[in-house]
């Protein structure tokens, strides 16, 4: 089609759209709303996305070089390796805990050896109020920490556990973690703690500012070859190249979701265009009488869609940018970092307008095709052709629905996400194709219905196009939540099939950098849960000497190779624990006690041991320790959390030269408790117990947990039942509960 006819039909389309303003506004709104959502998301993502520059500044400030800590190398040593005029700042940190007003507070303390805010530390922290600390004993704390400490600028804070006292001189945050409970201390504030308890203070890095004119590459080259630094040096440019921007992926997902929404929108908008085409039949007839060809008629309807889609896209972009600006004040909270000014992503916005235009054109395609099929005399007389009966494709659609449903049903318990997605996809596509058949069947049912229902049902069937569009939109709109639900249910089925703990078990983990195993704790747990068995899950290590270094390495057990059901194989790899009869009883494996006492390693579940041996190793292949030991599988259900272990008796461990590993080696002290009866929901401290104000709500029958620990102790308690899958998944990670209650005050202090 040449330019003149195109202009002519575009003019007709645009003017017709303008004349039917109410209908056009409806279509424009339908396109604009999802596009608006997309653009708000795009603006928010672009604004909130951390640029490589911001990301690098968050851990190397304005420094030219980042030097990772190396044993025996301090600021003065590093300075000696650098050209004169270079500035070096050491970044140290520690973690501690305290209680304020009965509440437990975690603190992360950072200290720069130069006043924060000066190069090369500039950019590491963002000052919100007051000033940066410039001397020992001063600190700028994050608002989160000040809230927790119930302190404000000018107050002094004393942390007994960390032997640190500071005066708050300002509020400052890490730009990428503004809610982090931390304080930036003035130079020298951690000296006392570092000398008294060196393991509590870590050097994070050294930040180096080179003198102007110095070649960064040349200095990097000389430092990286310095044996003392072990190659732990990088330049700003290197860090930038390693940094990545993930905002494109998020924007891509937004586009995918919006496209789906627009598909649903397009179905409804198509009905509006069908009505529009019907109302302008006379115009289309006149176009034909004036010499318009079917393609001109089609183009007129499509142009209407393009015009409205374009306007909808533009309106959506305007809405989206306004939305992006509106949510900008809340982006810090949403993004979990301090974001800069609003950034408008031009390309995605242009893409959004294109998407809107496409949606409009897509919605108009069907009505355009129908209008193109009309003869001029039909159009002039306002007659529509008789609708065709649903054909073979619709029947194929019904078959596809059945196949899709079968695949989904089989994939749900098998928790196979690709098959689930495939099944749901086939089912949705089948429904879309089969809609005309469903509408026809609805019409056939009408004769059996009472008068009013018959009239409405016949009306639905007569206006098949409009009904079909509405059903199609509903199918697409429902497909997303149904799909998500199916996948979630599948995951839940997996969770239920692989319980974390038995009904009567609790897993207790002490969290804290200096937490130690304390035998008195066991007694306290036992007293709380009368008749229970409590045993520590003590890791096992072997001490090895390599060169002049002697180190303890934790031992792991590799179980037999297993089929993963998807064409691959996997191994159970679990830590070896030292334990006796108590531990096996706590793990429901009393019957394996004789085997343990005979010196056999005990695994849990029928798949844990192949034959009668397992491989015990340090986990690393090169020059590591590896030994095959006699083993037996305890005939008990395998609980993900409790029994993903192998147990060796203390006597056998000693024989083999194994020892109980230092808890600090890999993990925090962990205990497993088996009560004398299943624990009910009220005993679930990992669920919502922390919200219950009542005391003694921790155990069945009102038994409490009278455990007293010093202020910095935390216990993580996990159990299987009574908690929602989401809670269980969360608990599997790092859900923490504090035990802080005195004898005779059972259960108080859980929060």
């Amino acid at each position: 089609m040449s330019v003149s006819p195109l202009r002519a039909v575009a003019r007709v389309a645009w003017r017709q759209a303008w004349r039917a303003r109410a209908r056009s506004t409806l279509v424009v709104t339908m396109v604009a709303l999802p596009i608006g959502g997309l653009c708000t998301a795009a603006v928010a993502i672009r604004t909130a996305a951390e640029t490589p520059e911001q990301r690098v500044a968050a851990y190397m400030g304005s420094a030219d070089l980042l030097v990772y800590p190396s044993k025996g190398v301090g600021v003065s040593d590093l300075k000696a390796m650098l050209p004169s005029g270079s500035a070096v700042a050491e970044w140290r940190s520690t973690y501690t805990e305290t209680t304020v007003g009965g509440s437990y507070v975690q603190l992360f303390l950072a200290e720069l050896s130069i006043p924060a805010g000066q190069p090369p530390g500039r950019g590491l922290f963002a000052l919100l109020d007051g000033r940066f600390p410039s001397a020992a004993g001063e600190a700028a704390a994050s608002p989160t920490l000040l809230d927790a400490l119930q302190a404000e600028i000018g107050d002094s804070v004393s942390l007994q556990d960390a032997d640190v006292t500071f005066r708050v001189v300002g509020t400052a945050v890490q730009p990428n973690e503004p809610t982090f409970p931390h304080a930036i201390l003035g130079p020298g504030s951690l000296d006392t703690l570092a000398s008294a308890r060196p393991r509590m203070v870590n050097t994070e890095s050294f930040l180096v500012d080179l003198a102007p004119g110095t070649s960064v590459e040349a200095v990097w080259q000389s430092l990286v070859n310095t044996p003392e630094l072990q190659g732990g040096v990088s330049t700003r440019a290197m860090e930038m190249t390693m940094s990545f921007d993930n905002s494109e992926g998020a924007t891509g997902w937004s586009f995918a979701v919006t496209s789906l929404l627009l598909l649903a929108t397009g179905m409804i908008a198509a009905a509006a265009f069908a009505v529009g085409a019907r109302r302008q039949l006379r115009t289309l007839g006149l176009l034909g009488a004036a010499g318009g060809e079917p393609r001109h008629v089609r183009a007129t309807v499509v142009m209407g869609g393009v015009a409205l889609g374009f306007v909808g896209g533009l309106a959506g972009v305007a809405l989206g940018v306004a939305g992006g600006i509106a949510i900008h004040p809340h982006l810090d909270w949403l993004a979990g970092r301090i974001v800069g000014p609003v950034r408008i992503p031009v390309l995605p916005l242009v893409g959004a307008v294109a998407l809107g235009t496409l949606a409009g054109a897509f919605a108009a395609l069907g009505p355009a095709r129908s209008a193109g099929r009309l003869t001029t005399t039909q159009a002039l007389a306002g007659r529509l052709p008789t609708p065709r009966r649903p054909g073979r494709i619709a029947a194929v659609g019904m078959v596809a629905v059945g196949i899709g449903a079968a695949i989904t049903a089989l994939a749900t318990p098998a928790h196979s996400d690709p098959w689930l997605v495939l099944g749901l996809g086939i089912m949705t596509a089948g429904f879309l194709v089969a809609i005309p058949l469903l509408v026809t069947w609805t019409g056939l049912l009408a004769g059996r219905l009472p008068t009013v229902a018959r009239l409405s049902t016949r009306d639905i069937a007569r206006h098949g196009r409009r009904t079909g569009a509405a059903i199609a939109a509903a199918v697409i709109a429902l497909a997303v939540p149904v799909g998500v639900s199916a996948i979630t249910l599948s995951q839940e089925a997996l969770d239920r099939r692989s319980p974390q703990l038995a009904d009567d078990q609790l897993m207790i983990e002490l969290i804290g950098r200096d937490a130690e195993a304390d035998p008195s704790l066991l007694a306290e747990f036992k007293r709380s849960f009368r008749g229970s068995v409590v045993a520590p899950l003590t890791p096992v290590a072997i001490t090895m000497t390599r060169g002049d270094r002697t180190r303890a390495h934790q031992l792991w057990v590799q179980g037999p190779e297993q089929d993963d059901g998807q064409g691959g194989t996997w191994f159970i790899t679990a830590p070896l624990r030292i334990g006796g009869a108590d531990l096996l009883r706590a793990l429901h494996a009393e019957r394996a006690v004789p085997a343990l006492e005979q010196g056999k390693i005990v695994g849990f579940g029928p798949d844990s041991v192949a034959g009668s041996s397992v491989d015990v190793s340090t986990g690393f292949a090169q020059q590591g320790f590896r030994m095959t030991l006699s083993a037996v599988a305890a005939d008990v259900p395998r609980y993900e959390l409790a029994t993903s272990v192998y147990v060796v008796s203390p006597a056998r461990a000693e024989e083999l030269g194994f020892s109980a590993a230092d808890w600090d080696l890999q993990e925090y002290p962990r205990y497993v408790l088996r009560a004398d009866a299943p624990l009910d929901d009220r005993a679930d401290p990992a669920g919502e117990g922390h919200r219950r104000p009542s005391a003694g709500a921790l155990g069945p029958g009102g038994r409490g947990l009278p455990v007293r620990r010093r202020g910095s102790s935390i216990a993580r308690v996990e159990r299987r039942r009574g908690a929602r899958p989401s809670d269980r998944r969360r608990d599997r990670g790092a859900h923490r509960r504090r035990v802080e209650a005195g004898p005779g005050d059972p259960g108080r202090g859980w929060w």
Partner: protein
Amino acid sequence: MTTLELARVTKRFGSGHLEVDALTDVSMGVQPGELVAVMGPSGSGKTTLLSLAGGLDTASEGTVRVEGVDLSSLGARELARLRRRRIGYVFQQLNLIEGLTAGENVSLPLELDGVVTRSARGAALEALALMEMAELVDRFPEELSGGEQQRVAIARAVVGERILLLADEPTGALDSVTGESVLRLLRGHCDRGGAGVLVTHDARFAAWADRVVFLRDGRIADETRAPEGPESLLAQTARR
């Protein structure tokens, strides 16, 4: 060459027991410069005859020729091209596309035919000037009276090199004075060498034609010259 020729044309609608012949064995011709009026009661097949003559519909039997071209030999695109270039339509009412101005309505067939917009607008202005409507070129249909709308419709029907003008009750919705002015324009088109077919049920307007064809039940019942009378005299005057 005969501008329009219908040879033993039959048009059937429906099928089976619903089948009905709208036209049966109709033959007629329209010469250049001739205005033929088609009269008959409702349902006699007047509009069907016009649709077949303009290529809007196809004959079940027989042949329709425009300037010697058998319309049944043309595809949809060729038929549309023929309508754009050689055939113009005027309907009883709602002749104009509401979203377009008078000028745009008139230039539409030319623009659809690929004529550059500026040239098409020039030709439209000329056609409107012929209808004494040039000053209303930028008015939208709702800003025009019924008679003015029909004049714009005639301008669109004759714009370019159209030679066959088909008018289906063009005066049906107009008062007699306005109707006469419309008829004068149709007559003028034929007097300039074009051919015209006027469907009407009003003898006063049929008197403007050179020949009147009477249809009844889809067949030509009679064919005669225009009746004598004051309107015919008026037509003679206009022709002179």
